[in-house]
Amino acid sequence: MRNRNGTRITMDLDRRLQTHGDFYSQKFQTTEREDTLVLNLGPQHPSTHGVLRILLEIDGEYILRAEPVLGYIHRMHEKIAEVMTYPQFAPYTGRIDYLHPLAWGWAHIGAVERLMEVQVPERAEYIRVITCELNRISSHLLWWGAYINDLGAFTPFFYAFDDREIISDILQRIIGSRLTFSFYRIGGVATDIDDRFVTETREFCNRMKERLKMYKALVTDNFIFRNRLEGIGVIPFETCRKYGATGPVLRGSGKAYDVRRAEPYSIYNRFDFEIPVYDTCDAMGRYLVRMDEIKESIKIIEQALDALPEGECINRKASKRPKPSPNDVYFATEGGRGKIGAHLVSDGGRSPYRLKLRSPSFSNLSLFSEVAQGTLIADAISILGSLDLVIPEIDR
């Protein structure tokens, strides 16, 4: 058979369409077999939630090889840090992971504070904990909605946004923005919280506890949903260690590693909270870890609100234009996706010599190609969702 242009019609779609692909498609190492299809999942695809592209070699619906292609939203955050002063870089951290920006802001500011040896007032530490945990809940809620959307149920997404909206409203009142928060300053936080913030947060915590019960009945116990998650995407602990996976991915594989507990920063060692761990290693384990983390975050917030001290919300003595002496420090926080690390090197100037950011999503994505091998496309989508990736964070 020949088409209108006279070229021979073959089974190979790429040849028939006379497309040769880009660098990554050409260099993609396929298996020896000839009856397979190379499929580009992304960079524009409903389930990659951003500009992630995954090259798949498939046999029918089964994935033989998977390779993520990164760099579509690389914005040189680490380089930008080198040409800016220390406080100037703070707003950029909110753009790295737009779902849990406060943890990123904390990693950067915490590193600067450690470099400058600045003392943070008690009240500011409490405000940081409360806002960061609120932000963690909103991050997990968005993941929850989006993940179930990937599995084909559209309704829970709106329920999650209903709750997330309240957090956005609460944080908007004191921070001013609803998504890319930049709230932490060197030596404290930008604005103090008031009574209305406290009552609204308490109301939200009470509401969220009820909602979590409904989420369990509506989604977690759903027969189809359980079948789509249980036993899917098994990531053994060894694989996690090999790729440096952290956060819920690691805790879903049976290792209770949480930066808040393992290397406590700020005042986290004062609170009573559990580190949820599930040793099923599958998507369900990771799902349950995140759902339990919402509960634990609520516990932390309530304890912090009870113990909220009076006082300054920022250390007035902290320098607005810091010029630290040459040194290098590392500060890690626990983000919604895992361990966030900021390695800050100063050469004595007004801007850092180097800022290395460790992003959890990058490590978590790295294990995808190993885990996805031999699964169905639908399972690959489920695994990808269970990793909770934020693409700008991967590329930075």
């Binding site: 619906e61 599995l151 149920a153 209903d162 169905l376 989508i381």
Partner: protein, 325 residues
Amino acid sequence: MMDLIFIPWQLFVIGVGLAAVMAFIGLNGLLLVYLDRKIGGFIQRRVGPYEVGPQGILQPVADGLKLLGKQVFTPRGADPVLYWLAPMISITPAIVVFIAIPFGPRLQVINTNVGLILILAFTGINVLALCLGGWASQNKYALLGAARDIAQSVAYEIPLLLSVLPIIFMTGTFNLFDIASGQGAWPWQWYILYQPVAFLIFFVCILAETNRSPFDLPEGESELTAGFHTDYSGMAFALFFLAEYAYMVIGSCLIATIFLGGFQGPILSGAWWFLAKVYILLLIMIWIRWTFPRLRFDQLLNVCWKWMIPIAVVNLLVTLAVISL
């Protein structure tokens, strides 16, 4: 005027009937799109269509006009004949099969002895349309969607037929009018009480055959972007869309006729009762769509081959045993 007289009466009836059926499908399509979105909005705690017309009732009309105005576009590398043939093949059987459905005691285009077989045979053609559409558009996602659709539709045809057979053995006829009028006016006289298992299997199979959630794998929005109609736009897409809703209506009509007493009701039997039953079934379908996540491909086939077919066969055998006693 003289010419009209020489048209055979049967042909005249079928012509008028087809025109009426097309209008019925079109209006139903508009109404169902609106209901689907409005109920989706209600379930998802949002308003749904609101701006066009009172309470957004004209939104489907606006959508239809938009689709009508779109450029007729064939993607590069697509097979032009098959590509444009597919949506037509999809919608045509949907129009044809409505002529055998008894809407009311005196409201049926043709009362044929093979009504049920006609409907089940013609609706099977839809598989071919989706397969052609997916294959001809030269898109990998469309190809995967078409492959899924073939496996799914072929598998679910079997329990669909197996669950209808007990009713046919009970009534001894393929005539839909006779099946409907064979049941009494009151709910306890309907076949759903005699054959609850068959009803459940039939309903699930109708969901699977019409590619509705949770069996919407051929479209599989979050996996295959849009499945078999990824490359379709404008009226071609609208035809696929309309066909999907038309098949939903056909499925509901069949269920209402076979299991729910058709046009019969406790008072004032007629087309009203039939439409009410059909719309209750459609609402349940919409409700399911906005509630459940999607099954995985192998789970879908497992449900069919390992559960529904054996249960349907056992149900059939039990029915036969009871009848022969």
